[in-house]
């Protein structure tokens, strides 16, 4: 008999929503979807996974690497000393992209400038000057393209 009564109250609460008398009448076992917070019942149907940064920041997982920036070369682009940059090797380096360049055995973060006659690595600070790449005289290649920067405020 008590069981039926409980059921009746639950129904009433669910359908009208007006006769709410506090949750004391029910234990959590009476209402399968409610959790201990007392909030579950209504929200359960709308449960999501939450925000996953990887989804937004990583486009191609096997080709994505993280690097730590050291120095002020790219301050003008909002990339500061100590920031983490996300580098995607599968993105094509086109004119204007920020890239990780390999120049004579060194890894540099610079803006890539390429037109018909020349390739330049351009820093975003007045303290450094652009580097003109002489393809015959230096070892140059592109390691990857910077897609995001993680900066702590």
């Amino acid at each position: 008999m008590a069981r039926v009564k409980n059921f009746y109250y639950m129904e009433l609460e669910q359908f009208s929503g007006m006769n709410y008398k506090g949750s004391k009448r029910f234990t959590q076992w009476d209402i399968p979807t409610a959790n201990a917070t007392g909030f579950g019942a209504a929200a359960d149907d709308y449960m999501e996974r939450g925000i996953d940064l990887n989804e937004q920041l990583i486009r191609n997982k096997p080709a994505t690497f993280f690097m730590r920036v050291s120095g002020d070369a790219m301050i003008g682009a909002g990339i500061f000393h100590g920031d983490v940059v996300i580098v995607d090797r599968s993105v094509k380096a086109v004119n204007g992209k920020v890239i990780i360049a390999l120049l004579n055995g060194e890894m540099l973060i610079r803006r890539f400038e390429k037109n018909f006659s020349r390739i330049r690595l351009v820093p975003e600070t007045a303290k450094l000057s652009p580097i003109d790449i002489d393809l015959s005289g230096s070892e140059f290649s592109i390691w990857g393209v910077v897609t995001y920067v993680i900066h702590s405020l």
Binding site: F66, R68, V69, I100, L102, G105, M107, W143
Partner: protein, 435 residues
């Protein structure tokens, strides 16, 4: 058609990716405990550095030519391997295949090799397709690979060897699609270079006057059945003739036994140090055991003593081992440690010098304690909960934040890895820096 994709000097390539200054310089990677050379770049090979030779033997050569030396960095290699395999899966369209219920087109064969099923590629496009795979893996992961393509796995392996022999000429790709191409390749290959022909069989074959792979291919199947280990020999002959006899295998998801063995960083003589080492290995093995939701019925312990007559480190000493069968299969670290420690106490001899120890968990069965089991005492379910908690903490915090006291706090005996590079691709604190 089947392709084998094989990374070029894989460990060295991983190191170089984050060390552009070593781009065309000789590089070698050492085995566990800095014992032997296990990977060398083409430049190091050309300087005469042998494969699998002890580090100290090559030391003079290494110093003379200023060859860069690295201890093995398995965190880095493991991550890079996953990247290479993932790239191949993307290229093979594996996700789409899975949805259609097709068998996977990529079979991971080892840390740096995978077979790929290319049956859907028209024969005329094979070379171009292989080149595309090679270029994409290299672009995405920075690891260069060689690809051999042929109708069977054995011939694909052979094609790969040919592709690697002269990388410049082949462009690291070799296709053996026609019978004529296969004949030429088999004729210029010695039997001992074939995949699946061990040293003892190679010696036998050469003794019988069968020196080239082509001669072996032309032997009758019945002959192979009698002289080359029955079905295995027949399969080899068929594979050499271009008839697939070794099929693409699905990945072995659950291991049938789990072993952890390591060389000590220095000779160990004390019982308590041996116990610590074995407890640590058990913890590692038990973690793997739980990851595949198994429980073990048998615990084995190995101890390798140093040969008293030889001062050299690599001569094989005597292995002593013992095992115990548990009354009930378990995945609980504490129970496994307890049995293993008893075995160590039993095996230990005062005065002996130990250089290596190992543990093995076998007799694996599905772990029924995972879901709280109604028919076992409640305490066991609590233990299981504790194990889960430990595994979760160690996974998120890394490096065994929580462990059993018996594994010791400062591990003097731990592996020597003096020249290990950073874990560039898996650790925040080890990220490579760019200027």
């Amino acid at each position: 058609m089947t392709a084998i994709v094989d990374c070029n000097s894989f460990y060295c390539s991983c190191e170089r990716l984050f060390r552009p200054d070593l781009h065309d310089k000789p590089v070698v990677v050492l085995s566990n405990n800095d014992g032997c050379i296990i990977s060398r770049s083409d430049e190091a090979r050309k300087l005469g550095v042998g494969m699998a030779i002890p580090y100290f033997q090559a030391r003079q050569l290494i110093e003379k030519h200023q060859i860069a030396v690295f201890s093995s960095n398995y965190h880095l290699y493991g991550d890079m391997s996953r990247r290479v395999m993932d790239t191949l899966r993307v290229l093979a369209g594996e996700e789409a295949d899975k949805e259609e219920g097709l068998s996977p087109a990529v079979e991971v064969y080892s840390v740096d090799e995978a077979f790929m099923d290319l049956h859907s590629i028209p024969p005329g496009d094979l070379a171009l397709h292989a080149k595309h795979i090679k270029d994409t893996v290299e672009q995405w992961t920075g690891i260069s690979v060689s690809i051999g393509v042929a109708p069977t796995k054995t011939l694909a392996k052979l094609a790969n060897i040919i592709a690697k022999k002269n990388k410049k000429a082949s462009g690291c790709v070799k296709v053996l699609a026609t019978e004529e191409e296969q004949r030429v390749a088999l004729q210029e290959t010695r039997v001992d270079q074939l995949w699946g022909v061990g040293r003892s069989y190679a010696a036998k074959l050469i003794n019988w006057g069968i020196t080239s792979a082509w001669e072996l291919r032309n032997m009758p199947e019945e002959w192979a059945h009698t002289n080359m280990g029955g079905v295995v020999g027949v399969r080899l002959i068929r594979e050499l003739r271009g008839q697939p006899a070794i099929v693409m295998e699905e990945e072995l998801v659950n291991k049938k036994m789990i072993a952890t063995t390591r060389m000590f960083g220095r000779p160990v003589t004390a019982l308590h140090e041996l116990k610590e080492a074995v407890a640590t290995y058990i913890s590692r093995a038990a973690e793997k055991l739980r990851r595949q939701a198994s429980a073990a019925k048998t615990v084995s312990v190995f101890l390798v003593t140093r040969d008293q007559d030889h001062l050299t480190d690599f001569k094989r000493g005597a292995t002593i081992h013992n095992y115990v069968t548990l009354p009930k299969a378990t995945s609980l670290t504490n129970e496994l440690i307890k049995s293993a420690i008893e075995l160590v106490e039993h095996l230990y001899e005062n005065g002996k010098v130990y250089k290596k120890a190992g543990v093995m968990l076998s007799g694996l069965v599905p772990d029924d304690s995972i879901q709280g089991n109604l028919f076992v005492p409640a305490s066991e379910n609590q233990h299981r909960f504790l194990m889960n908690t430990i595994d979760n903490i160690n996974f998120s915090m890394r490096d065994d934040s929580v462990k059993f006291g018996s594994s010791g706090m400062n591990k003097d005996w731990k592996m020597r890895q003096e020249l290990r590079s950073g874990r560039y691709s898996t650790r925040w604190e080890d990220l490579i820096s760019v200027r």
